[in-house]
Amino acid sequence: MAQLTRRTTDLLKPFSAALSSTRLLTTTSTNPITVETSLPFTGHRIDPPSRTVETTPQELMSFFRDMALMRRMEIAADSLYKAKLIRGFCHLYDGQEAVAVGMEAAITKKDCIITAYRDHCIFIGRGGTLLQCFSELMGRKDGCSKGKGGSMHFYKKENGFYGGHGIVGAQVPLGCGLAFAQKYSKDENVTFAMYGDGAANQGQLFEALNMAALWDLPAILVCENNHYGMGTAEWRAAKSPSYYKRGDYVPGLKVDGMDAFAVKQACKFAKEHALKNGPIILEMDTYRYHGHSMSDPGSTYRTRDEISGVRQERDPVERIRKLVLSHDLATEKELKDIEKEVRKKVDEAIAQAKESPMPDPSELFTNVYVKGYGVEAFGADRKELKAVLP
């Protein structure tokens, strides 16, 4: 729906090199703008929210900037992996940025998010830094888990991010447990437990959902349906790929996950619902450009046309770019400059992360317990390598 218009000469300021979007006058504005979501929401046992979303220039610009940052970060991680600086598993999120960014816009850091292993961008959304991200990916001590977790185990507890989990589906009962604790503590906050279309078939999800519904827990289950569970397309894995309906007695909403404003609206709606009525399922219709992980080219089970088609028609960053341009909030050049700045930030963070040392060998034995009682722990050679756990 965007019309590309050139900025008028009304525009006061030259763009400056230090292109923080806050420097541009109009983009600090909190004047309300309304946007329409790309598609209407589809509800299951619930009346869906309106397609009209309130936003501000500041928010629009921040969406662009944040998603551009996430996009660049994931692409840089791809290169680092190919350069063998990242080892093991690396599951990239590019294409799905709108879910992370839209969700953050609707909630606070007191709300909790828990997700699976495709967690780099959620971590950034929760306030993690690029340095912490790249250092962790490369196994360095400045990493968010001091290099001991790796790609799948990012956490930021003080900002309500509980990881980062490698076992498919496990994060959903854990997320319902966070919601249980929020309700127990009377915190008036909610938990977003994110999972994929592959995990949507896990039994423990339904066990947890049953209890969440029985006990009216403020749990929001968010299915990031990127249509492929590793190499298995949704129609081959699920008898009913209407994941928003799979909760049966639990209401659900189907959302265009490539539209950050649809995501924001849905999450805001879900939070209000969960605080009053218990669990709700959000299905985000999204897409990942990369394969399941860096070991998967991602083209053996889907066509390159499909991938490029989504990139052309539905790319989340492009959608925001068009919105920004159509609302005259920035010129194309200014947006390109933001992207350049973001790229620079990413490169700087990578350079700094490369300088970060690997964890000290003594860290092998730290954090096994909170309280170790002075017990002995042994390395591979029990005579050579052992430590006392404090």
């Binding site: 909790c112 828990i114 888990s145 001091k146 290099g147 001991k148 977790g149 185990h153 956490y155 930021k156 507890k157 509980y162 990881g163 980062g164 989990h165 490698g166 076992i167 496990a170 959903v172 009962p173 854990l174 997320g175 319902c176 447990g177 966070l178 919601a179 249980f180 604790a181 929020q182 127990y184 503590s185 039994g203 423990q204 339904f206 066990e207 947890a208 049953n210 209890m211 029985l214 006990w215 730290t366 954090n367 096994v368 317990y369 909170v370 309280k371 009682y373 017990v375 002995e376 722990a377 029990r382």
Partner: protein, 377 residues
């Protein structure tokens, strides 16, 4: 050298009553003078009650813990006292409620998750190990998991193969977990309180057949601030000829065996492990260095069992002190049969009142066979 030779030993001439009395005397000698006795069930119930009272973050979750008063009545009265928000009845969905418990622990609550038996913990074992045990390490200390997983473990009576497994060895091998196995009422109270207060995930292995057993208890133990240290074994009976290590129900059997051995002139030192992980290697090794001989006892499967780890530890640390190879007594290498006679053969037995079959090592005969010097008692 003490070893298992035959499955049947008759103890003619030794009245069983004396042995049991002897056992009681030994046990009560270790406490301050108090005639009070409580059952293990009462000990666990009071420990739960006191810890829930002291810390509002502690809550109990599991099947039948609330309205049913506990499948084994361990949580009797707690629902009435603390309400359904803190004593939570769950559906029969271990994977789900264990995950929920671990998530609540991530947030900062202190859940006590009850498994009706630890056999059902296998449904939830991913959460115990991958979500609970490893989280503090993987997050470099950000996400601690102050949770207790408790319930009856090991063989009961006639419950068959799927309901009789001992999980001490499995959980005992996981870094990040603490694994406790109480025997007496004092153990039950002290270790459960310590477990609930502990900031790490604790697997608390009770025993169904011990729930109804009474043990003498001191005033100190009954105090609400009482707790026992985690990672410390207890020397239940001192001796100098052989060390017997055991945990849970087998401690009682080991004490009885020590009583029998004493009549034969052999002084056995019985160690109640209390803590499977951390294992109190120093107490075990110090004992073996004193006695020079070791028998490990457990009910679980022998291969890769707790006894195997104790053997290895003693070989590594006290090899020169051993006068004989370590002997292991364990359950049989078979799924638990149902028929009573087969079931008796599948786990170490204590001297029964109705039968003179004893599957204990025929210790005195073996000792003499190897022509070891007579020990003066």
């Amino acid at each position: 050298m003490l070893g298992v030779i035959r499955q049947r030993v008759t103890c003619r001439g030794i009245p069983t009553l004396t042995l049991e009395q002897g056992m009681r005397v030994v046990a009560s000698r270790t406490f301050s003078s108090s005639a009070k006795e409580i059952t293990v069930r009462e000990a666990l119930n009071s420990a739960l009650d006191e810890e829930m009272s002291a810390d509002p973050r502690v809550f109990l979750m599991g099947e039948e813990v609330g309205e049913y008063q506990g499948a084994y009545k361990i949580s009797k009265g707690l629902l009435e006292k603390y309400g359904p928000d803190r004593v939570v009845d769950t559906p029969i969905t271990e994977a789900g409620f264990t995950g929920i418990g671990v998530g609540a622990a991530y947030y900062g609550l202190k859940p006590v998750i009850e498994f009706m038996t630890f056999n059902f913990s296998m449904q939830a074992i991913d959460h115990i190990i991958n979500s609970a045990a490893k989280s503090n390490y993987m997050s470099a200390g950000q996400i601690s998991v102050p949770i207790v997983f408790r319930g009856p473990n090991g063989a009961a009576a006639g419950v068959g193969a799927q309901h009789s497994q001992c999980y001490a060895a499995w959980y005992g091998s996981i870094p990040g977990l603490k694994v406790l196995a109480p025997y007496s009422s004092e153990d039950a109270r002290g270790l459960l309180k310590a477990a609930i207060r502990d900031p790490d995930p604790v697997v608390f292995l009770e025993n169904e057949l011990l729930y109804g057993e009474s043990f003498p208890i001191s005033a100190e133990t009954l105090d609400s601030s009482f707790s026992l240290p985690i990672g410390k074994a207890k020397i239940e009976r001192e001796g100098k000829d052989v060390t017997i290590t055991a945990f849970s129900k087998m401690v009682g059997y080991a004490l009885q065996a020590a009583g029998i051995l004493a009549k034969e002139g052999i002084s056995a030192e019985v160690i109640n492990l209390r803590s499977i992980r951390p294992l109190d290697r120093s107490t075990i090794n110090a004992s073996v260095r004193k006695t020079n001989r070791l028998v490990t006892v457990e009910e679980g499967f022998p291969q890769h069992g707790v006894g195997a780890e104790i053997c290895a530890s003693v070989l590594e640390d006290s090899f020169e002190y051993l006068d004989a190879p370590v002997e292991r007594i364990a359950g049989a290498d078979v799924p638990m049969p149902y028929a009573a006679n087969l079931e008796r053969m599948a786990v170490p037995q204590q001297r029964g009142l109705a039968t003179d079959q004893v599957h204990w090592p025929q210790l005195p005969k073996r000792y003499k066979e190897l022509k070891l010097t007579k020990i003066n008692l």
